[in-house]
């Protein structure tokens, strides 16, 4: 029944989505005076209301950057919290303009759900956490270990695949919820805990003695997370896509929230193009030419956003890893602005 409703909703949504798209999301956003941004219902480091009730996180920064680019005000964001069931319907029906909700980019989502991914703001993947006392350095040494995992998730399937591919002996211990899984691991029911790496770091903080545990370096699945928009509105897709590229390019060029004003006088042609002191790149997207400057001024570059929300500046302390810039051993790469 639920599946039927979801299918009908998605089908109807796909039809609506196409008809809505002709209106031009960017123009709609400008006339509404705010970007309507779909988030999850709270995920540590990615999108979570703080004590003042303001949404903070890596995914929130994407929306704040969009609002900064369009309105020169990062607070012109209306947040719509969505469950994982209704996130795509909300995008298709036009309820939200952009979905920035730790959603994995997959073929079927793009091909049949009527949405288009605008880039990757976090390369996630499944990892393992073990006790330091076991003195393990690699997940490949886990043969015969019992692993706590949440039931019925792709995580469970990935785990089985990884152990089979590496000819390791697996004793998985499954639990219905994330909380139970972590609790069981903390109580010593299993030797290792597995879930998405970003999740491992936040679960670790919840353990009785977080410092006794370590996250192993292996990432055994690909979970590229990024913002998505409705299919069929290329202008809006470009705006979201290039807003993200501005964040990454700024980090690459060393432009930060603190030095962006000084950088306006820079002679470097790449920085000039980024900040809009040269060329008309913003206008060609339907924005103002100083869009790049606005984004960095209000949100900072990708590295700053990362460290503030999930990295060393946050309790999560996630290492950059795959999310480092391409020239520093990571995967974050932006095409040139020119």
């Amino acid at each position: 029944m639920k599946k039927w409703i979801a299918t009908a909703a998605l089908a109807a949504g796909a039809v609506m989505g196409v008809s809505m798209a002709s209106a031009g999301t960017l123009d709609t956003v400008k006339s509404k005076g705010q970007v309507v941004c779909g988030h999850g219902q709270g995920l540590a480091g990615f999108a979570l209301p703080d004590a003042q009730g303001v949404w903070r996180g890596l995914d929130s920064d994407v929306c704040r950057a969009l609002a900064a680019a369009i309105f020169n005000d990062p607070n012109k964001v209306k947040v719509v919290p969505l469950t994982s069931k209704d996130r795509f319907t909300a995008l298709q029906s036009g309820e939200i303009d952009v979905l920035s909700r730790n959603t994995t980019w997959t073929l079927s989502r793009e091909a049949s759900l009527g949405l288009e991914f605008a880039g990757i703001n976090y390369y996630d993947g499944q990892g393992f956490m073990v006790r330091k006392s076991l003195k393990l350095t690699s997940a490949k040494e886990l043969s015969g270990a019992s692993v706590c995992v949440q039931q019925g998730t792709t995580t469970e399937l990935n785990l089985a695949d990884f152990f089979r591919a590496n000819k390791l002996e697996l004793k998985s211990v499954t639990f219905a919820t994330n909380d139970e899984t972590t609790k069981a691991y903390d109580a010593g029911r299993c030797d290792a805990l597995t879930t998405d790496a970003s999740g491992l770091y936040s679960e670790r903080l919840r353990l009785a003695k977080p410092d006794d545990h370590v996250v192993l370096p292996e990432i055994i699945s690909k979970e590229p997370l990024g913002p998505s928009v409705r299919k069929g509105d290329d202008q809006w897709l470009d705006v979201v896509k290039w807003t993200q590229f501005v964040l990454v390019t700024a980090e690459e060029l060393g432009v930060t929230q603190a030095n962006v004003d000084a950088m306006l006088k820079s002679e470097n042609p790449e920085i000039k193009r980024l900040l809009g002191t040269e060329g008309k790149y913003g206008e060609s997207l339907g924005l103002s030419n100083d869009w790049g400057y606005r984004i960095i001024k209000h949100v900072g570059n990708y590295g700053e956003s990362f460290e503030r929300n999930v990295g060393q500046g946050s309790p999560l302390k996630i290492a950059r890893g795959l999310n480092a810039l391409w020239n520093k051993g990571g995967l974050q790469y932006a095409p040139p602005i020119r």
Partner: protein
Amino acid sequence: MGKSVSSNNNQPFVQHDVIAPSRPPSNLVGPVGWVREHLFGGVFNTSATILIVLFLAWVLPPFLDFVLFDAVWTGVDREACIFNEAHPIVGACWAFIKDRFSFFNYGTYPIPERWRVDLFFVLLAISIIWLLKLSLPRRDLGAIYSFIILPVISYFLLIGSPALGLPIVTTNLWGGLLVTVVVSAVGIVVSLPLGILLALGRRSTMPAAQVFCIAFIEFVRGVPLITVLFMASVMLPLFVPREFEPDKLLRALVGVALFASAYMAEVVRAGLQALPKGQYEGAMALGLSYGQMMRLIILPQALKVTIPNIVSNYIGLFKDTTLVVIVGLFDFLRTIETARIDPIWAAPTVSPTGYVYAAIFYFIFCFAMSSYARTIEQRLSKADKR
């Protein structure tokens, strides 16, 4: 009282005074007697008492240790509540509740505008006390205030009105206690009158009204609340133009109110059926119209017998408001769920603390409702005891 002994000494001794009854044996009265009678009367009673005391002795001390004695009361982040050498045992992390207290009350309501929410709570409290405390004067004015003036004021106060100098606060920013109170208050206020109408409609002799009411009640009772909310939130936007699309909170309010009315209708119908037919016939014999009969004879009696059920419906409704999270609204419980995953407060006892706080909150509200209902029942049942 008694007359003094007669002066005539010829008569044998006659006791004229009434002898005061002597006190019962001391082990049958007072605290000792009470304990003997109620706690240790017979083998079964005695063993039940002992078992219960043992159970409490087993459960209470760890609970009190967690909630009070080992609890952490001050702190600014997770450092206060994690296990370390300084405090190897950490109970409830009340510092977390203190830090997020305003988030639990207002959600993401803009900080400069939060006084409006406070004012709303005060106005609502006045209305509730005025209506429920029977000794207060002019309760007719109280009803006008509560059901007409208060909703209008609250609407402009909470949503805002640029004409009055109050910036608009869209409902997607509302959260926490505010959402829980608004949804349950609207549900409670709307469901009783609507439920009475539906119940009367269902028992009516007019076929159209009867069929409509039966269909509505049975349809709504036939689906879970979660489905009603899901349909309202996900399907509705697909079928109406964006300009006419109702607000998310409004969708949830309508869903909850209609859902509660259908259940209320069946409760009221039970009361109507419990009345002997003579009450109806008597009212008709007096020449009362249908409206007069219902208003003066039938409903007062029918509602009186259904008070326990009405209140348990209200309590259920109050707790069901947690389901509005389906529509993406942050109700009280959801704000706790959200705050507890914040890494700033990630510590082993933070989640249990959040849930204990939620339990206390819901218990206070529900217990207040049922206690009030009990006093009303006692007052009304005086008529039956004569």
